[in-house]
């Protein structure tokens, strides 16, 4: 077989593989959207669920998902950036550092249910936070830290050494070089990592069942005092997320339209993740441009 034929075959093979991936993805999304989008309405995404009747919504669950995401990122992103900077810029090649890297790998392959059970024992019981958004946010931070740390470290390592030397040669300290040159340049990569983690937070159910809980108390969306028990912002209330809700009504939903609600919620979940991806990318690009142009 000539090199040219081989080349053509390889190209065709790659197209077929890409085609399969796209078909599977389009099929999955199409299925979820075709079944789910007809269920969506303003009333569906704003009202609380009904237990025995038809016509309930997923308003509080949707809010819980977003709130949990924000809290998780607030906890995990600063830690991940700190750890990533350390591993990329300060850590020397040493057996302790190698151990840390192995531990991060191990942590990233922990099943989410195990993280959930650890969260239950530590945050819910030992720390005494009960089933709460805060317990859930910490469990999910733990779950996502390895991924985030690795992404931050990689993004920083991808910045060429010449940029660091240029910063040092201009009389910037190591810290100034990192914060004013390396981090802005690494930002698009870091944002991509945060998006990946966000998708995992949004779609995670197993780690939340035992931490954030499977119920949502009656909350009053006009009460924004985080200390009040009926406020949506209270981090110490239980909070069932959209993904947990889907799991729950599929198992034990007794409302007559459980299947329809589950379809609608699934579509909503995917739309939310897509929305979050696009806005994060937009914000990342915008920040990058702004730092360059001000």
């Amino acid at each position: 077989m000539s090199a040219k034929t081989k080349d053509r075959l390889a190209t065709a093979g790659l197209y077929v593989i890409v085609g399969i991936i796209i078909t599977v993805l389009a099929g999955l999304l199409g299925f979820v959207f075709v079944k789910g989008i007809p269920q969506l309405s303003w009333q569906f995404i704003t009202t609380p669920p009904q237990i025995f009747k038809e016509g309930g919504g997923v308003g509080p669950q949707l809010f819980n998902s977003f709130y949990l995401l924000v809290l998780t990122l607030m906890i995990a992103v600063p830690i991940a950036i700190g750890a990533g900077i350390y591993l990329a810029e300060y850590a020397r090649d040493h057996w302790i550092i190698r151990c840390i890297r192995v531990l991060i790998e191990v942590l990233s392959s922990l099943p989410s249910i195990v993280v959930g059970l650890f969260g239950f024992l530590f945050f819910v019981l030992y720390m005494g936070w009960g089933f709460s958004i805060l317990s859930g946010a910490f469990a999910l931070s733990l779950f996502n830290l390895p991924l985030l740390v690795r992404v931050v470290e990689q993004s920083i390592c991808n910045i060429p050494k010449s940029q660091r030397e240029a910063g040092w040669a201009l009389g910037f300290s190591k810290w100034e070089t990192i914060t004013t040159i390396i981090l802005p340049a690494a930002l698009p990569g870091i944002v991509t990592g945060v998006i990946l983690a966000s998708g995992r937070v949004f779609g995670e159910a197993a780690a939340l069942i035992y931490t954030a809980g499977m119920s949502t108390p009656i909350i009053d969306f006009t009460n924004w005092n985080p200390l009040s028990p009926t406020s949506p912002l209270n981090p110490f209330r239980p909070a069932e997320t959209l993904a947990v809700h889907i799991w729950k009504i599929n198992g034990e939903g007794i409302m007559p339209d459980a299947a329809a609600i589950s379809d609608g919620a699934a579509a909503l979940l995917i739309i939310s993740i897509l929305f979050f991806n696009f806005t994060s990318r937009f914000i990342g690009n915008w920040m990058f441009k702004k730092m360059g142009a001000n």
Partner: protein, 258 residues
């Protein structure tokens, strides 16, 4: 090594400078003086230590693990190899331009304003002036004045190199170290950067590492020939190129090795 008798005012002087990468003795007994507001070229085959030597003068080598410096480098009346010298402060005084123009992924304006701002200058008007002054000094102003807000990465290679020179000038150095600043450029851009280096001599003491013999001959006043971590020969460029003392110098200049 012949001592250059004609040097009147030296701004940098090295005294028995030794440099080691772990056990590798990379610089041996370097005793050099550099005259104020002149261009000194460092030439020699790859691996001879000329870049390493350049990097000892702004202590860029400090950032490599396992290195050791002995001897002294006097800049003014300070020995900059002393641990008490803050390398960050030193590098403001001793600027460096690299082989590959590493512009920051920001706007042209921001590339220049970055140093002064990080070093504490917040006044927008002052920063505007610094940007204009240094872009003019780097002979780049006329080419970029209408799009200072454009990303610097969109400039040509030669423009990027002049931008990094402007950026270095903005931190107000007294000495400029250049590590093969034109080796990645085309001949036209090289000519522009060389013109620039020649005009910069009026205000700065310049030490330039180059692999290009013609370039060393064209722009430098003094030349030091490095071989195997030692200074084999040092003298006025005209003398060293036309009448070298050592056969190695002659062979290297003639292109017989290296």
């Amino acid at each position: 090594m012949n001592v250059v008798e004609s040097i009147e005012r030296s701004v940098i002087q090295t005294e028995d400078l030794q440099f080691y990468y772990n056990t590798h003795h990379a610089l041996k007994n370097i005793n050099l003086k550099f005259e104020e507001k002149k261009i000194t070229a460092l030439i020699g085959p790859s691996g001879c230590g000329k870049s390493t030597f350049l990097r000892t003068m702004n202590r860029m080598n400090d950032l490599i693990p396992g290195v050791r410096t002995e001897g002294a480098i006097w800049i003014g009346n300070e020995n900059i190899t002393e641990p008490s010298i803050d390398p960050v402060e030193l590098r403001k005084k001793v600027g460096m331009v690299f082989q590959h123009a590493s512009v920051f992924p920001f706007s042209i304006y921001e590339n220049i304003a970055y140093g002064p701002r990080t070093h504490g200058e917040r006044n927008k008007k002052v920063l505007d002036e610094i940007v204009e002054e240094n872009l003019r000094a780097a002979a780049l102003w006329d080419e970029v004045k209408d799009h200072l807000d454009h990303p610097a990465t969109g400039l040509s290679g030669g423009q990027q190199q002049r931008l990094t020179i402007a950026r270095t000038l903005a931190t107000k150095p007294e000495i400029l170290l250049m590590d093969e600043p034109t080796s990645a450029l085309d001949p036209i851009s090289t000519a522009k950067v060389e013109d620039l280096i020649r005009t910069l001599k009026e205000r700065y003491t310049i030490i330039i590492v180059t692999h290009n013999m013609q370039q060393a001959a064209r722009i430098s006043d003094f030349t030091a020939f490095f071989l195997n971590g030692e200074v084999k020969e040092y003298g006025q460029t005209a003398t060293l190129f036309t009448n070298p003392l050592f056969s190695e110098t002659k062979d290297y200049i003639a292109g017989k090795f290296g």
